[in-house]
């Protein structure tokens, strides 16, 4: 049994957890972050990619809007590299109540969200693929943000300040003695080994899973309802600006250009199990129909992949019955000392990506208060690793990089312009044998062919780096195909169906992956 010690143990490696770990480390606490899977594999890795200006909340929840705008500015400064300055527009389609526009405008002014009114002609000049029946719009400073980059940058920053990041380490128990959480046990998913961590403080930053972790410390009744939402990535950038419908927030009213794709989303259905990631056919149909309203011809555009994420909707049983529809999207910081009489334990849940840094700040401030120590937050002051230049992400970056070296390196994932060196580097750095981990890190196989050509190559390279024997590599390949299918099957039509058939031909007809040797049973 391994033993580790730290001032702070953060459980949960999404944006909140990574932000908390960074803040803690920067404040001089020795920090360990434990995440049961890969960083940003939970809700953070499955959200829309929208860095809110706050426009979405100006009418219903102005304080939330103001908070978004403030954090928007901070993140643009400290995480410039992970953000593409697309700008955003709120547009009024024939299906939107025209009266909302004035409310929206006033709401922006009131909440401090910079807003500029645009004529219909201007909206269409900026984004010619939009519905010509749009009657007008507003420009706001929305942006597109790369969640993985941000989370990994936070983790790296935390590491630079001395933190340890333990991914693929699942929290299995919390030990409470004398009314305080003193010990945590985490299990290494790869080896099955357990590590005991003696922590001065434990922060539960597991988002939609927060209830389970809180329960481990005897703090029951922390209910985080998973608000399931699906998103569909369309093969190319239909727009280069974040497009919102100018109306009461509802389903399918946002289209975000993220790197090489456009993502339409999202839906809102309460589910029981946040790990289910269910994708219902009706939800897909709804996304396509709403997409068609924004971009005529949307249904003929190639859909690449669909996924679901679970929003953490906090509902505190102990605080009394709350109307589920009005569950706040604001974050919830639960002081377990007050609520449950359990010391040295905080839960931070709810919230949205845009405000993760603030959530972390509030959490650390609370922790410092309870530890009776004054250590100011500097997370808004220091830029994240990779963003030192202050330059925002630019869509042409990978193309320019490849242009600089056309003959010196091999292109393994051609769709997403990933070179062999980059891939091998990531495989070695990440010390992972899971192709999906690499996918998340580099966007491998996230282009149109969804791995049809590059995954065989990546498997061969993984094997070449002597990380796996044949059967283990085959297993990684098969698992990848199965995982990919989940995201493709619900939107399999048109061009993507052609691709899938070609890929079936490659993997089964040509490579015959099905009949590759399997690993001997354990």
């Amino acid at each position: 049994m391994n033993r580790l010690e730290a001032d702070v143990l953060v459980i949960g490696g999404g944006a909140t957890g990574a932000g908390v770990a960074r803040d803690a480390a920067m404040r001089g606490f020795s920090t360990i972050l434990a995440e049961r899977g890969d960083l940003a594999m939970g809700t953070t890795g499955r959200f829309h990619g929208l860095l809110h200006s706050g426009g979405r909340y100006v009418v219903r929840d102005p304080p939330s809007a103001t908070e978004c705008m403030q954090e928007n500015l901070i993140l643009r400064r400290i995480a410039a590299d992970a953000i593409e300055d697309t700008g955003g527009m709120f547009v009024t389609t024939p299906w939107d109540d025209p009266a909302y526009a004035a409310k929206f405008h006033d709401g922006c002014k009131g909440a401090g969200v910079p807003v500029e009114e645009l004529s219909a002609a201007e909206v269409l000049r900026r984004e010619p693929r939009l519905n010509p029946r749009i009657s007008g719009g507003f420009a706001v400073p929305d942006a597109a943000v790369d969640a993985w980059k941000t989370v990994w940058a936070c983790a790296r920053s935390a590491q630079e300040h001395g933190a340890r990041i333990l991914n693929y380490h699942r929290a299995v128990s919390l030990h409470v003695s004398d009314g305080a959480v003193t010990l945590a046990a985490v299990m290494d998913e790869a080896t099955g080994e357990t590590t005991e961590i003696e922590a001065g403080f434990v922060i539960n930053a597991t988002g939609v899973w927060a209830g389970r972790i809180a329960a481990m410390a005897g703090c029951g009744g922390v209910t985080v309802v998973p608000g399931n939402g699906i998103m569909i990535a369309m093969n190319h950038r239909l727009v280069d600006t974040v497009i919102n419908r100018c109306k009461e927030p509802a389903d399918g009213d946002i289209l975000v250009p993220i790197r090489t794709v456009s993502v339409i989303g999202t839906t809102d259905s309460l589910v029981d199990d946040p790990d289910e990631n269910a994708i219902g056919r009706d939800d897909v149909e709804l996304m396509l129909a709403e997409g068609e309203r924004l971009v005529p011809g949307f249904r003929s555009v190639r859909a690449l992949r669909v996924w679901a994420g679970a929003r953490p909707l906090f509902k505190d049983d102990k605080a009394g019955e709350a109307d589920t529809r009005a569950m706040s999207r604001s974050f919830a910081l639960i002081d377990h000392r007050e609520r449950d009489g359990v010391e040295r334990f905080l839960t931070i849940t709810g919230g949205k990506f845009t405000t993760f840094r603030k959530m972390a700040e509030a959490t650390l401030d609370k922790m410092c208060e309870q530890l009776a120590t004054e250590r100011p937050c500097r997370t808004a002051d220091e830029t994240l690793p990779g963003s030192e230049s202050g330059h925002h992400y630019w869509i042409g970056a990978r193309l320019a990089a490849r242009e600089g070296d056309l003959t010196g390196d091999q292109l393994i994932c051609e769709c997403e312009l990933i070179t062999r060196h980059r891939l091998e580097d990531a495989m070695q750095r990440r010390a992972t044998t899971n192709l999906d981990d690499i996918r998340r890190t580099l966007r491998l196989a996230m282009g149109p062919c969804q791995g049809g050509f590059c995954i065989y190559r990546a498997t061969g390279i993984l094997h070449d780096l002597a990380r796996l024997d044949g059967p283990a590599a085959n297993n990684s390949l098969r698992r990848f195909l199965e995982e990919r299918w989940k995201g493709v099957q619900p939107i399999l039509y048109g061009d993507q169906l052609r691709q899938a058939r070609l890929d079936d031909w490659i993997f089964q007809g040509l490579l015959d992956v099905e009949h590759l040797p399997e690993s001997a049973p354990a």
Binding site: H236, V301, L399, A400, R402, L411, G447, P448, D495
Partner: protein, 414 residues
């Protein structure tokens, strides 16, 4: 659904950029691209087209200057099994590339054959001498970026339009409009005269309206605004005839393709004049084959005992009509026309004239030159002027437009 509507939906009008969605990464296009095979400077049509396009900001510049090594031959679009308009995506990206960086002076000059034609024609003799002089050519290469061995045509001195002004087309029951293009006017006026004679022989009164360059060289060199101006002007001069119900035939397969679809697909010229001209524009061989299918082609073709190797230019194949020249050759008794069925001669319009691209161009055309030489014939046939000049340059064999063989077979030179 009416098939013409279906043509509109699926054929001409699907947005070029949106067609990148059809790419399944099979890379078949790259296996047919003659230019990426000849130089590592061109990463290939799939890379530069549907793949890189996803990384381009439509309003900003393309960071990949390597796309300028695309010749625009269009073979990729032809062989793509999925209907991706690859060459057109590349062409549009090239336009944005040069709009951002500024079109080099050299490209501006070689892209205006009608301008150079107007300036040089009065001095054809000395100009031709100079362009044939190795010292002058060396200088031109060093200063102007045009390769010293590039197959530049000779100025004819007397333009086709000058001939046309003196020519009276006999009154006839049918009327047709002839779009001769810059090359016929300034470099090959005799081709124009032959085309007119063949048409008249087939019962047409031939109208030769005022006309200028179609803008294709400007488009392929990235000067999109200038190209649009030229093609609009051309469409405006031809449209009145099209509206009166007259068909338009062209002897340059690249220029007629510009009118048929490239001006719309690459330059976005969505213009009622162009639309009506487009619908009425035919390649001359295409037109004669259609006449033949209706039983209206004059069949008094006399034997031509010869073997003639035929090269269908890339942009002729881009019309999607097969090889009508070969069908016409089959009607000429004694003529053994051999379809060389080789991809590209390498010139790609103005591409092969450029100092940095000449060697690539010659490497691409090498196999074709060899085949033409070994055919051992007196002439080769090819529908595009720049290809003819390249073939002659590379093989030493003179090359003629297919219409010339018909002219001879009809025995019209008397």
């Amino acid at each position: 659904m009416d098939l013409i509507d279906r043509l509109a939906d699926e054929g001409a009008h699907e947005s070029v950029r949106a067609s990148l969605d059809h790419c399944v990464k099979c890379t078949i296009c790259e296996s047919f691209c003659p230019f990426s095979a000849a130089t590592p400077l061109f990463p290939g049509p799939k890379f530069v087209g549907p793949q890189a396009e996803r990384f381009r900001d439509p309003t900003g510049s393309s960071p990949d200057i390597s796309l300028d090594y695309c010749s625009g031959c269009g073979i990729c679009t032809q062989v793509c099994p999925q209907g991706v308009k690859i060459a057109e995506i590349n062409a549009r990206a090239r336009g944005r590339l040069w709009a951002e960086r500024g079109v080099p002076l050299r490209n501006k000059l070689i892209a205006r054959p009608s301008l150079s034609g107007r300036l040089a024609t009065p001095f054809a003799g000395p100009v031709n001498w100079a362009l044939g002089n190795p010292y002058v050519r060396n200088l031109v290469e060093r200063i102007g970026g045009v390769h010293r061995h590039a197959p530049l045509p000779r100025f004819a001195g007397r333009t086709f339009r000058a001939w046309a002004r003196k020519h009276r087309s006999p009154v006839a029951p049918k009327t047709i409009v002839y779009f001769h293009g810059c090359s016929t006017n300034y470099f090959e006026p005799s081709l124009g005269a032959m085309a007119v004679a063949v048409l008249e022989h087939n019962g047409y009164r031939v109208i030769i309206p005022r006309q200028d360059c179609c803008g294709l060289p400007l488009q392929s060199n990235g000067s999109f605004d200038a190209a649009r101006t030229y093609v609009r002007r051309l469409a405006a001069s031809l449209a009145p005839y099209a509206r009166r119900g007259h068909d338009i035939v062209a002897t340059s397969t690249s220029c007629s393709l510009m009118l048929k679809r490239e001006a719309l697909e690459i330059l976005d010229v969505d213009d009622p004049d162009l639309a009506i001209v487009s619908a009425r524009t035919y390649d001359i061989c295409e037109y004669l084959v259609l006449l033949h299918e209706r039983g209206e082609l004059a069949t008094d073709l006399e034997p031509l005992e010869a073997t003639v190797p035929y090269h269908a230019p890339c942009q002729q194949r881009g019309h999607g009509i097969g090889k009508p020249a070969m069908e016409l050759f089959a009607l000429i008794p004694g003529l053994n026309a051999v379809d060389l069925d080789i991809d590209c001669c390498g010139i790609a319009g103005t591409y092969g004239l450029k100092k940095e691209k000449y060697d690539i161009s010659m490497a691409v055309g090498d196999r074709l030159f060899k085949e033409v030489r070994t055919a051992g014939s007196e002439v080769a046939a090819c529908d595009s002027e720049t290809c003819r000049w390249q073939i002659t340059h590379g093989s030493g064999v003179p090359a003629v437009h297919p219409i010339e063989l018909l002219y001879r077979s009809y025995n019209l030179s008397g």
